[in-house]
Symmetry: C2
Subunit: 298 residues, 2 copies
DNA sequence: TCGCGTCATACGTTAAACGTATAGCAAATT
DNA sequence: AATTTGCTATACGTTTAACGTATGACGCGA
């Protein structure tokens, strides 16, 4: 009987090497010698009959086969973990890493509060919290959960809606004081537009369900919602922003709602994660907690 | 760094033990000593933190956890195999076991011919060919492919249609010689019905698309299509049978078609197999070959 | 040029998986 | 009832391969 080191351990080592871009760094992370890590990678390559990583002394890169292997390896490792977790005697212990990418605005406010509360409730969870509004390459980042406002541009992922975000038109009173509830008056004003949700057209729904689609004179465009909000506060243009995000400014009068009762199309916050037949309990619980926390944004 | 024997190897050993119901028999199959097999099972139980198999000297049985583990273990092993196969350098070599359950009639004729041709083309394939008309418990049998006429009563499986089977009314001429193309005349004759496809009602479609639904006087019922055919030949009743299955008898005059041009509802032959993100190449190729072979039955 | 960090590999050491042997048990056979 | 057969678990010495240390070749930056 030929013995073999654990194939799943070989995959773990490979994934860590790919993520760190260095055999030595991965070895340190995993508590191995550099020589062992190097040999395990070679062992995996031999088993699969193909080269996965192109080596050089200062730069490792994945082959095409290595890229495919990375995605599959992660899934198989996640499946083992979900599987083994399903038998664990200690059903109450929630532990292990969670790497999460969240949008900047939510990731520094509501979602972050939720994540901190989750960690306080489960102290053995290790959170890796990344805020980023840009679309990520999920398979490269190696995260467990991607919180995303709007569409998730990756059809390989499982995408679940968590909450809808109510959006309204807001502006500084000096800019929009004369609008007086008339949507058409907006077309004369500058617009601070948020990529990729707003462009030259602005669909709105009124208090009685009436619809209109305004031309927007975009004078400022950004993919940063924080920047868009700041421009609106400074009077540089009206903006379409989530109500939760401008509640304080509306209360303080720093911003007004020039079209009371009118709504821009709501956006959906999605949870996106890799398909595996069993998700780890900590991920499932985290998603549930996040769904509950975001429910108040509607 | 603690070394560990391959977790996937532990799963393989467990699956074989469960299938054979004996640690010793599994050890012989796998080329291990009985002691090693016993230890590997104990090792897996220790890793998962739960007992999987209840031991006795003459009868092993799975615990509840063991039953769940069996299904998941098979899937994870299949996923590794599909994964590793995707990297194999020798893309042309088709090898390994295929365990297939087929309906009795097809499994002794057309489908068997196809399977034998497939094996002749790929001699390294090991076929385990089981004919059985009864519904199987897929997860217990541990087969790769279930060929099934009609519905597949297991929603956990991937089910793909392979072919439609054209069915006609046939009878011995001594019984049905006076029917003379009139469907209603059938209601006076005894019917040999095949479970679960025929009962007291017989829907038929005529040559011009006209539909009728006859009362069937069932005097013989069986779940065996071969028995039903035999009764028809012997003049014990008319039967609804696939055209492919009675072609010779029609040619020889042993059976006649009392309602030329009329059809019973066709049945679909399905291929059912376990979901895995990657199917082994041999299974994919086999299913393709079977689909092609059965295409002539319509 | 020098120093540092990288990866691959040789070599002796280590850890764990191996098979053989044995004991206890249950069922079938004589 | 006694014997035979086949089962599983475990002790023990053996075997195997994975381990870490050491070293050489290489590339990059100061």
């Amino acid at each position: 009987m030929t013995r073999s080191l654990d194939r799943l351990t070989l995959l773990e080592t490979f994934v860590r090497i790919a993520e760190r871009g260095s055999i030595s760094a991965a070895a340190r992370d995993l508590g191995l010698s550099q020589a062992s890590a190097s040999r395990q990678l070679a062992d995996l390559e031999e088993r699969l009959g193909t080269q996965l990583i192109i080596r050089s002394t200062h730069h490792l890169s994945l082959t095409k086969a290595g890229e495919r292997c990375l995605g599959d390896a992660r899934l198989m490792l996640a499946e083992w973990e979900g599987f083994a977790e399903g038998f664990a005697g200690d059903a109450d212990r929630i532990a292990g890493p969670l790497k999460i990418v969240a949008p900047v605005a939510l990731g520094q406010t509501v979602a972050l509060d939720c994540a901190m509360a989750f960690q306080a409730a489960h102290p053995d969870i290790v959170l890796d919290w990344i805020v980023d509004d840009a679309p990520i390459r999920f398979s490269e980042v190696g995260c467990d959960l991607w919180l995303r406002v709007g569409a998730v541009p990756d059809e390989t992922l499982i995408v679940q809606p968590l909450a809808k975000v109510q959006r309204i038109v807001v502006a500084a009173s000096g800019l929009a004081g004369s609008v007086d509830g008339d949507p058409q008056a907006l077309t004369a004003l500058p617009c601070a537009a948020l990529h990729p949700f707003e462009g030259g057209r602005l669909p709105l729904t009124g208090p009685s369900g009436e619809a209109t689609n305004l031309d927007a004179r975009v004078t400022f465009a950004s993919n940063s919602i924080a920047a868009t909000k700041r421009v609106a506060i400074a009077g540089g243009g009206y903006a379409v922003l989530p109500r939760w995000m401008v509640a304080e400014e509306l209360e303080a009068g720093t911003l007004i709602e020039p079209l009371p009762g009118w709504r821009a199309p709501p956006l959906t916050i999605h949870a996106a994660f890799a398909p595996a037949r069993r998700q780890t309990r900590r991920l499932r619980l985290f998603i549930d907690a996040m769904r509950e926390a975001l429910a108040g944004l509607a």
